[in-house]
């Protein structure tokens, strides 16, 4: 299916939905039209809950507040000022402004580097509570607990309001649908799946979250504005925690991460509530609560995916097994190799590619690294060896994340990393491959690679690229390991070795200047290992990368390294050429695990004023 065909199908579905909205008032009774107008607006807010929770993984209880921002802006302006077209525009602007302002504060509080998912949820929980209390304490200005009513508003017919609310919902749903299916939208899922990997791929996840959050706040505010203008009444409950959780309930029932599920969830539950709550108010709530718990426990994907699965299952009963293969995910058509002249663009700089001075890392009273000093030039392949617990991985972590170390300075390509987060270190040219393969498990190989390129090629907000250009080195790893035949395989189905290769190619796709590899060949066969070794040598020699490699296999180290650093109990005990290290009695002792005291004694004077020439 071509890209334009895919987009026109979505638009065709949107036109059909608009036609259904248009027909609505002609087939429904007035009461239903009235109720559904409200439900359509609620559904637009539920849509934002799904974007945040279903796609981005932020469970939010506070979307009601943005709805109330828009609603109260309209209510306040129309109550305290005259209703004029100018004031109507002013109210809309105020509503959106208030929502954006609130969302910015929440975003700053909830999405900083290192904030947990639970903390973000906590903030969105506090938000509606604060907002309702402020509305309660507003006296006659906000109407306190009874809210505002009796203000003048747009003079539109019931049908027109229904059409307006419906068109707004269809437009927002279509836009959201196109967005989440686009290359940029896939980043949302990547952040939900593995935020850490995203940061180490140079993506500013906090900024991404705040942007999506701001956009969702605007959608909520506009929905609230239409609501107030239509209903001509606003109440503090609109901002409340209960409405906020109802939105989450509708989203969960419909099916998080499906967009259409939450929309239908909101429409059906809110409409039925209005129909049934008159006769059986408590029973209805009880049923909703019970179904909600059941769905969360037993069907976390929600009800819409089940409805969609039903015909497929029925088909499966009729047709012979194996015939109803899941439709293959639309894969990227092709990979392409970038011109080598265009890659590894970051300036090499004059000084060493990597300069580590006096770096220490302590966990409380435990010192894991102490007085680490070394420099590495571009074009060097430095192996970091040492027994388990020597601090090799910790050192890698300190170089790739400015907030990790307890003391010392780290300069990458002439930039002091200070206490900057991983994505800033990536921008200076650091690329880190983790010890355990760290990829986006539910995304396909091609999608993983594409996310790794997002830093260089700004992903489209509405389209899907079908050609993915990658630097030569990444392409080389992909071709060598056969990953190019598995581009549409979800990463969690790959073998351990292929996952390692995938992560390595993702890191290489970043075009790093300083490459940190934590046992990149663990789990690979001897041949693959030698191929990776050849690629690494090529990278350092031809492209001038500085590679820092943690490796246990000393034969492999001997074959590819230009220099070896031996780490033991958090200190550098030896820093020299491959020959020196291999011949060293000390290294044998370290690896054999004998004579710890002797080593400490021997190295104590060495680490003091040592400045090993790079």
């Amino acid at each position: 299916m071509t890209e334009s065909r895919r987009l026109s199908l979505i638009l065709a579905a949107a036109v059909l939905a608009l036609a259904a909205i248009f027909a609505g008032p002609y087939v429904l009774d007035t009461y239903s039209v009235n109720v559904l107008t409200r439900s359509l607006l609620y559904a637009a807010v539920a849509l934002t809950v799904d974007l945040l929770w279903g796609y981005l993984g932020i469970l939010t209880f506070g979307q009601s507040v943005f709805f109330a921002c828009g609603a109260y802006a309209a209510g306040l302006v129309f109550t305290h000022m005259d209703f004029t077209p100018g004031n109507a525009a002013l109210a809309l602007a105020l509503g959106i402004g208030a929502a954006v302002f609130t969302a910015a504060i929440v975003g700053w509080l909830a999405f900083w580097h290192g904030a947990s998912a639970l903390y973000a949820s906590v903030i969105t929980l506090v938000l509606p509570i604060v907002a309702t209390q402020l509305l309660y304490s507003g006296g006659t200005f906000t109407g306190s607990s009874s809210g505002l009513s009796g203000f003048t508003s747009f003079d539109l017919s019931t049908e027109a309001w229904f059409w307006l609310a419906g068109s707004f919902l269809v437009a927002m749903t279509t836009l959201a649908y196109i967005f989440v299916q686009s290359d940029a939208g896939r980043l949302l899922v990547a952040v939900r799946e593995n935020e850490q990997r995203c940061k180490y791929l140079g993506l500013n996840t906090s900024r991404l979250k705040i942007r999506v959050y701001l956009a969702c706040a605007v959608i909520g505010a506009v929905a609230g504005y239409i609501y107030a203008a239509y209903a001509m009444v606003v109440a503090p409950e609109l901002a409340g925690f209960v409405f906020g959780t109802e939105l989450v309930i509708w989203t969960a029932l419909g099916g998080r991460g499906t967009l259409l599920g939450p929309v239908f969830g909101a429409l059906i539950v809110d409409y039925e509530s209005a129909q049934l709550s008159g006769n059986f108010p408590f029973i209805w709530q009880l049923i909703i609560g019970t179904v909600f718990v059941l769905v969360i426990v037993a069907f976390p994907r929600g009800l819409l995916p089940m409805v969609f699965d039903l015909p497929r299952r029925l088909l499966g009963l009729v047709r012979p097994r194996g015939d109803v293969a899941r439709p293959a995910r639309v894969a990227l058509a092709t990979l392409a190799t970038l011109d080598a002249a265009q890659t590894q663009g970051a300036e090499v700089g004059n000084g060493p590619a990597l300069a580590v001075t006096g770096v220490a890392k302590r966990f409380g009273s435990l010192t894991v690294l102490d007085g680490i000093d070394f420099k590495a030039r571009a074009g060097e392949l430095v192996s970091l060896v040492g027994p388990n617990g020597a601090g090799k991985t910790t050192l890698m972590r300190c170089i790739a994340d400015g907030a990790e170390r307890s003391a010392g300075t780290i300069i990458v390509n002439g930039h002091d990393i200070g206490s900057r987060p991983p994505e800033a270190c990536v921008a200076f040219g650091v690329g880190r491959k983790f010890q355990m393969a760290n990829v986006f498990e539910t995304l396909t190989v091609a999608e993983c690679l594409q996310i790794a390129r997002a830093r260089h090629a700004r992903p489209s907000l509405w389209r899907r690229a079908n050609i993915l250009p990658l630097p030569e080195a990444a392409m080389h790893v992909i071709a060598t390991t056969g990953l190019d035949r598995q581009l549409s395989t979800p990463a969690h189905l790959l073998s351990h070795g292929l996952k390692q290769a995938l992560e390595l190619s993702m890191v290489l796709a970043l075009e790093p200047r300083v490459l940190l590899l934590d046992e990149p060949t663990a789990g690979l066969t001897k041949t693959e290992r030698m191929q990776i070794g050849a690629i690494l040598i090529d990278l350092t020699k031809k492209q001038g990368l500085c590679v820092l490699l943690v490796e246990h296999d000393l034969d492999f180290v001997r074959e590819i390294s230009s220099r070896v650093i031996v780490l033991h109990q958090g200190r550098i005990v030896l820093d020299g050429s491959v020959e020196e290290v291999v011949a060293s009695e000390l290294v044998k002792q370290v690896y054999a695990g004998s004579g710890h005291a002797g080593i400490a004694h021997e190295t104590a004077p060495k680490t003091g004023g040592q400045e090993v020439p790079a």
Partner: protein
Amino acid sequence: MIAQTLDIVTTAAILYAVATGLLLVFGVMKIINFAHGGLMTLGGYAALVTTQAGWNPWLAIPVAALFGGVAGMAIERFVVRPLYARPLDAILATWGLSIIIGQVITIAFGRGVQFTQAPLSGTLDLFGESYSAYRLALVGIAAALGLALTALLQGTRLGLETRAVIMNEDLARGLGINSALVRFLTFTLGAALAGVAGALITPLSSVDPNMGVPWLVNAFMLVLVSGASLLSLLVACLVLGGAQVLVATHFSPVLGGLTIAVLAAVILRIRPKGFARD
């Protein structure tokens, strides 16, 4: 001045009693039990039933513990257990349970506000102030709860196993501790404590089907700033409860109601560990 100090101490005691059950569950299971509010409501109605039956109002406490505990057993077995791997979903599912409890109570007892008989009435003269005897008694009850829980955690084999599960569940399981049983007992105990808290607060306010909900958020915030320690919970209750009393008396009661939630959110932003030590 003395009245205000007493206000702060008694408020902290009430908050402590309300939050311990939640803290216990969060500490062991890393799960926020949003049914805590609903279980408190259940405890409140247990107290109502007890006093309406003409029993001694003090009996409300064990009855509420029984109600809460039995409900907790069912909740752990059927709802929380499948959700250990999905902590955010557990918040939602327990919130759904809160709705269910509220609606069942509404159907059984009606929507109206009801009052229970306080086990202690009148005032006590303390430092020249005459102060509500029941509020003062709550300080003793909260202290007794805290001490009993500490003794349970520090002095018994179950407590040792519970602390092991808190620190490193995988390792604890590897050492042969039945962590599923520890979780089950913890949740039951947490739910029983929620019931007790509900029974304790009813003489101060009234009983209605949503009485637990306003307490839930404050208790939740207190637990988050305390980590998993009963001691830091005490500190958090005193500091934040004190701030609440001061803001409510000197500025406005509405702002006072927000103090705990807002302060806790800011504290967590600045210091993610909150009041917990390293």
